[in-house]
């Protein structure tokens, strides 16, 4: 019998990911794109690229689950699941002892508690405000004329930090402007910003609790400075996936596979 393939597509507010797995749950292809203005176009594009990498045709995908805020605009998906469940399943697959998942994306940040099968037990999500999300860091990096990659620069992690007291993105931005006007060293401001984000995430962590290993997913997991501050606060090491942005899409692909075998076995 021909091998079965499953897809997962995560249409996030900033990035769109596609992951293809086989029936052994091995990842055959993963793609990260910018979502842009048209979510369904980005989804199709990401899938096409992933299919190309895996050397498959779309018709060979037995089931595909869409996730992310654009999950409803993926016409070729056979099912849709929230990114909350997907990040849980994906993180569990990569780090099976995970009990708590922290997903910090562009627009939302979530802390998810999962059980030993990767099923979500509880979650907490930021409120409407962008504070405590990747978008906050983007705005600030822009203000400081830094590339996102540069936030991971060790110079911005060690050393003194200037506390940023505003939790609101708009207020924090003007706070940063006035700090710059006072010639506050940039690394101190960055350090302060990382800490302010971590504080926001922390209140969610506290409400969900730390259950065994903690895995961080989403684009912000690429920010080494933030990881370090978070680990300090947590008092334990974080599991950081090699490609944190695709964890949601991976979870979606795994869920597609599960649903497929549920529906064919009954």
């Amino acid at each position: 019998m021909a091998d079965l393939f499953f897809g997962g597509i995560d249409v996030g507010s900033l990035s769109t990911e596609a992951v293809i797995i086989n029936s052994e749950e091995q990842v055959l292809a993963e793609v990260v794109l910018i979502t842009g203005v048209n979510g369904s176009e980005a989804a199709q594009k990401a899938l096409n690229q992933a299919l190309e990498l895996a050397e498959l045709a779309q018709s060979q995908i037995a089931a595909l689950t869409s996730t992310g805020y654009g999950r409803a605009s993926v016409p070729f998906a056979t099912g849709k699941t929230t990114e909350i469940s997907c990040h849980g399943v994906g993180a569990h697959h990569l780090f099976p002892s995970t009990g708590t998942v922290i997903d910090v994306g562009g627009q939302d940040s979530k802390v998810i508690q999962i059980d030993d099968r990767g099923h979500m037990l509880d979650f907490s999500m930021n409120d409407k405000c962008a504070a405590g999300t990747g978008r906050f860091l983007e705005v600030m990096a822009d203000r400081l004329e830094l590339e996102l990659d540069e936030l991971s620069n060790p110079a911005y992690i060690t050393g003194p930090s200037t506390p940023i007291s505003s939790t609101c993105t708009v207020f924090a931005e003007s706070e940063v402007i006035s700090l710059l006007a006072k010639d506050t060293p940039r690394e101190q401001i960055v350090n302060g910003l990382q800490r302010s984000i971590v504080n926001r995430i922390w209140s969610m962590v506290v409400s969900i609790g730390i259950h065994g290993e903690v895995t961080i997913t989403g684009g912000v997991a690429k920010n080494q400075g933030l990881i370090k501050v978070l680990e300090e606060k947590l008092g334990q090491k974080l599991n950081v996936p090699k490609n944190p942005q695709t964890v949601g899409a991976l979870g979606a692909a795994l869920i597609a596979k599960r649903h497929h075998s549920d529906s064919t076995s009954t």
């Binding site: 699941t81 929230t82 990114e83 909350i84 469940s85 099923h119 409407k128």
Partner: protein, 440 residues
């Protein structure tokens, strides 16, 4: 009191309002069909609409005939009924504005007059109405008296003070000490005394005289209707539940704003009969009830239909709520033979004036009695007394009962406080965990 105003009011009551209602009936028949996820709609809906439309419609003809009082939802209105005040409930009116998705407009008017955005939207809408004269109900009669109680929140006192100053009319405040553990005898005496002290001013404003026998009759009617309402809610323990809590949000209006009047009792008798009939025939509010949920906090008036459909499509039905229960919960404390003290007990212990431990116990009982599988908490920007403590309550309930739950941030009547994408994700994730938990 002018004779012509009196005649006009009587004419409208007997002929004008019924004629209007039959016109409305014609319009209603052309309204949209219910989406397929729902069971057959309640027949009482038509009667409810009639009663409320008539109440607002008649209120236009009241000036010069009866004195008008604006009253808060938790105030002991029975006392006012003795003096034949025509009562208007601004909270109810604000909810109506919210349901029509006009909350932001009215709030904006109040904000333009420098009222803070942090003020409860019921208050902002009411002040917006006062400032602009606008109302989806046509026109509200100006109050001759304001009657509020801080047993629901402190906001109402300042809100009514603002109106009192603006219109230069008397404000009566019923001060109900917060029950942080249990009501003390001193608290009860203090409240009972306040109620009796109100009589002279009520006599003066209304021009009517107080009779104890009248109060007893009103209290009896009030207690009967509250009990009937309580029984209707209890009937939702049936599987499938004969109505959803979203229906109940609507059917709540008479017990809030017409409490103590014969029309409320008549209405709940009709509704109770229909509900019992549905239970005996096994008719459910939604077509296929698989999961049963509890709702905490006031309705999100501008999204009732959206939420009802969202959950019905997922075979989930809200079968109970702390909110709808509030007008039945403490009614057994009422004792017609001991009116003053028992009113103090009834009104002093309502949910928003009672401590979190009480609320936790109540919710645990409801979850048990109604075979609840999951909980949705609406953290509402407007209402601090209702929303503070929800995170702790949720934690206590989720951990002890292993019950999936979610908190959504929204508002009662200001539709600007709504982020559909975020709320949809939260609710869907909640549904996923509910299905997961039950799959085992």
């Amino acid at each position: 009191m002018s004779l012509s105003a009196k005649l006009k009011y009587k004419f409208m009551k007997d002929y004008g309002a019924p004629a209007l209602m039959s016109l409305q009936g014609l319009k209603r028949r052309r309204s949209r069909p219910t989406p397929s996820a729902f069971g057959p709609p309640l027949e009482s809906n038509a009667r409810l609409k009639e009663i409320l439309t008539r109440h607002y419609y008649l209120s236009r003809f009241v000036p010069g005939v009866k004195k008008v009082a604006w009253v808060t939802s938790g105030a002991p209105v029975e006392l006012l009924r003795v003096f034949d005040f025509y009562t208007i409930y601004p909270e109810n009116h604000s909810a109506l504005v919210g349901a029509k998705k006009q909350g932001a407009e009215y709030c904006g008017i109040a904000e333009g007059d420098s009222f803070s955005q942090d003020l409860c939207s019921y208050a902002r809408i009411d002040l917006g109405h006062m400032l602009s004269g606008k109302s989806p109900a046509g026109k509200l009669p100006k109050p001759d008296l304001l009657f509020c109680s801080n047993n629901i929140c402190q906001t109402v006192l300042y809100w009514y003070k603002a109106i009192s100053q603006e219109l230069d009319i008397p404000l009566i405040h019923f001060d109900a000490p917060f029950v942080s553990d249990r009501q003390s005898e001193a608290d009860i005496r203090y409240m009972a005394q306040q109620l009796q002290d109100m009589i002279p001013i009520l006599e003066q404003v209304s021009g009517n005289v107080f009779y104890m026998s009248d109060l007893e009759a009103v209290l009896k009617r009030s207690q009967d209707s509250s009990r009937t309402w309580g029984n209707i809610l209890k009937a939702m323990q049936a599987k499938p539940a004969p109505m959803t809590i979203f229906d109940a949000f609507g059917h709540l209006a008479p017990i809030v704003s017409l409490r103590g009047l014969p029309v409320a009792q008549d209405y709940y008798n009709i509704l109770a009969e229909e509900i019992d009939d549905r239970v005996s025939k096994g008719i459910g509010a939604i077509r296929d009830e698989k999961y049963r949920l509890i709702w905490d906090n006031i309705a999100i008036w501008y999204k009732v239909r959206y939420l009802a459909t969202f959950f019905a499509e997922r075979k989930m039905n809200f079968v109970t709520a702390t909110y709808t229960n509030a007008w039945a919960e403490t009614i057994d404390h009422l004792n017609i033979k001991d009116p003053w003290n028992s009113m103090a007990r009834t009104y002093g212990q309502i949910i928003l004036n009672n401590n979190l431990k009480h609320r936790l116990g109540l919710m645990r009982r409801m979850i048990d009695d109604f075979s609840v599988d999951g909980m949705v908490m609406h953290s509402t920007r407007s209402c601090k007394p209702y929303s503070v403590g929800q995170y702790d309550l949720r934690k206590a309930i989720s951990t002890s009962l292993n019950l999936p739950s979610v908190i959504i941030d929204a508002d009662i009547a200001d539709e600007r406080v709504w982020s559909e994408q975020q709320i949809q994700t939260r609710l869907e994730a909640f549904c996923e965990s509910l299905e997961d938990t039950n799959r085992g």
